[in-house]
């Protein structure tokens, strides 16, 4: 039985790697100045000039989309572990909006560089979540309170974002677009920051996978096994907020990705976090990148922001799952 599981695991990852590669090629050709899949493949091998331009235009966007999706999904896994609720999502509990607000403040008011924008966004979300955590703590972390407070923070922050936009005389649409994840052609330092931060966070999450597994047994049993539950949860929250904020700078308040990707990952390879974390990362990256390709193709010459597609599709899926009383406790 173990051998069967190992084979399945390898097969799943191999298949996903192939899908990722295919999707990257599609993504390079998608959007205005469109090229078909085969044109891009031929162009890559023949060193075609048009394809080279397409790569330089679309590759940064592709990378940022993939890694932001991965970061957001893994962040979801960690929040689900902390709250012991499969339906926790970084956007719904206010962390993505906080990250976006932080990013907006750093960009607009401080006109900072890419790394600083990301760092400021992380620090700002940590501060916001520390507040949520503080209020929800009574003799242990109270999960339901985290979820409820987070929803309130979410609502408030979206208005704060719009206020900043209005005060700064932005064309409101530009902020609304980036709030929904416009992924507008990112500069090289933005790409580097996004990739490095996301990979670092996902690695940190993977190192905590064993602890996540023990936490599934409940706080009481976990501490009986010698795990410091409070310390572990704080570590998980730090990594989760870091990842969500890193993603929010690029994909705005894209909701439900952090919930859908882990849900699919659990269905495919089971409840072991050593599988859930890497698998959610890849699936999340895939979903966001597909949504971006779709958004670029569907509305040409206008690009539909990723957040709109992911949130609408993910939201409908979530409603269906919960509405059909998908085993809530499970």
């Amino acid at each position: 039985m173990d051998k069967k599981k190992a084979v399945k695991t390898i097969a799943v990852y191999a298949a996903l790697i192939i899908v990722v590669l295919l999707l990257i090629v599609i993504s390079i050709g998608a959007g205005s100045g469109r090229a078909s899949f085969f044109q891009v493949v031929r162009g890559i091998f023949a060193g075609n000039e048009t394809v080279r331009v397409l790569i330089s235009v679309n590759m940064p966007r592709t990378l940022v989309a993939f890694f932001s999706g991965a970061a957001l999904s893994v962040s979801g896994v960690l929040f689900q572990s902390v709250t012991r609720n499969k339906f926790a999502d970084p956007a719904i509990i206010g962390v993505s909006p906080a990250g976006f607000t932080g990013g907006l403040i750093a960009t607009v008011l401080l006109s900072a560089s890419a790394i600083f924008v990301s760092l400021f966004s992380v620090v700002f979300s940590l501060a916001v979540f520390a507040l949520i955590f503080w209020f929800s703590y009574e003799r242990g972390v109270k999960s339901n309170k985290i979820l409820a407070l987070g929803a309130a923070v979410n609502a408030v922050l979206v208005m704060v974002i719009l206020t900043i936009a209005v005060m700064q005389n932005f064309a409101a649409t530009s902020v609304i677009l980036s709030l929904a994840g416009s992924l507008a052609v990112p500069k090289p330092d933005v790409v580097h920051t996004s990739v490095v931060f996301s990979m670092a966070g996902i690695l940190a999450a993977f190192l905590l996978a064993g602890k996540c597994n023990v936490l599934t047994l409940g706080d009481k049993t976990a501490s009986g096994l010698g795990v410091n539950v409070l310390q572990t949860k704080i570590a998980l929250i730090l990594v989760a907020v870091f990842l969500a904020a890193t993603a929010a700078v690029h994909v705005g308040i894209t909701a439900f990705l952090g919930l859908i990707a882990p849900l699919i990952a659990r269905k495919i390879l089971g409840a072991n976090h050593y599988n859930i974390i890497p698998l959610s990362a890849v699936l999340g990256g895939l979903i966001l990148l597909s949504a971006d390709c779709f958004g670029r193709t569907l509305g040409t010459p206008v690009t539909l922001p990723v957040g709109i597609i992911v949130t609408v599709v993910g939201g409908c899926l979530f409603i269906t799952l919960l509405g059909r009383s998908y085993n809530y406790a499970d």
């Binding site: 599934t216 009481k220 096994l225 085993n327």
Partner: protein, 255 residues
Amino acid sequence: MQIEKAAFGYDKRKLILKDFDYVFRHGKITALVGPNGCGKSTLLGLCTKMYKPTNGAVYLDGKSIAKFKGKDFAKHVASVYQVNEIPSDLSVHGLVAFGRTPHRKSFGFLSESDEAVINYSIEKTRLKNFEARRISDLSGGERQRAYLAMALTQEPKILLLDEPTTFLDIYFQIEIMEIVAGINSEKGVTVIMALHDINQAVKYADDIIVMKNGQIAASGAAKTTLTSELISSVFSINAEVIKTENGDNFYAIYR
């Protein structure tokens, strides 16, 4: 394990446990009985480090348990609770393997000696045929045995049981008690258990502590400590002590 002048309360004015002094006998089974709210679970909570005593201390091998590191403590003391979370998609073997957590680094696979301990626990708790089954598919009695197996896999010196049989039918209650008694006699593990059923406490325990209002109402050998007067004063019910054919006491309880 020794409890010295321990007191505990969420609110300082309202203590759940007062001035509690007791030395648990090494290698013996001690049962805690008493009405709801008498402080049994709180006392066990102090022994597992879930609660910090507001006064006094709990000692293990002469060292205050507050000074033990988490993993080190988990190698000495394991507990089984009345109600447990039921993780999805986890096999019996998977659950029992978690018992090795305090003995292992966070990374790496189970060693052969880990597997040996896991197998021993699974056999002891009569779960060999259920090994690959999912926890969520088990009956209450099987599930409780799986959690007991996990606790055993920690290779503890002290096993704490907080009303482990409350939600089980009579057959499974006795099965759990017999497994616990077996472990105690085979491995010399000290057992401290809170129980509702007085007859089970008397049958399986060496020592008994009768608690009322956060204090010891009586303690001593399980076979002789309980009298019908004691039971009626602690539980506010009547009890008649009946001698069974093999000379044991049986407590018939009525209002």
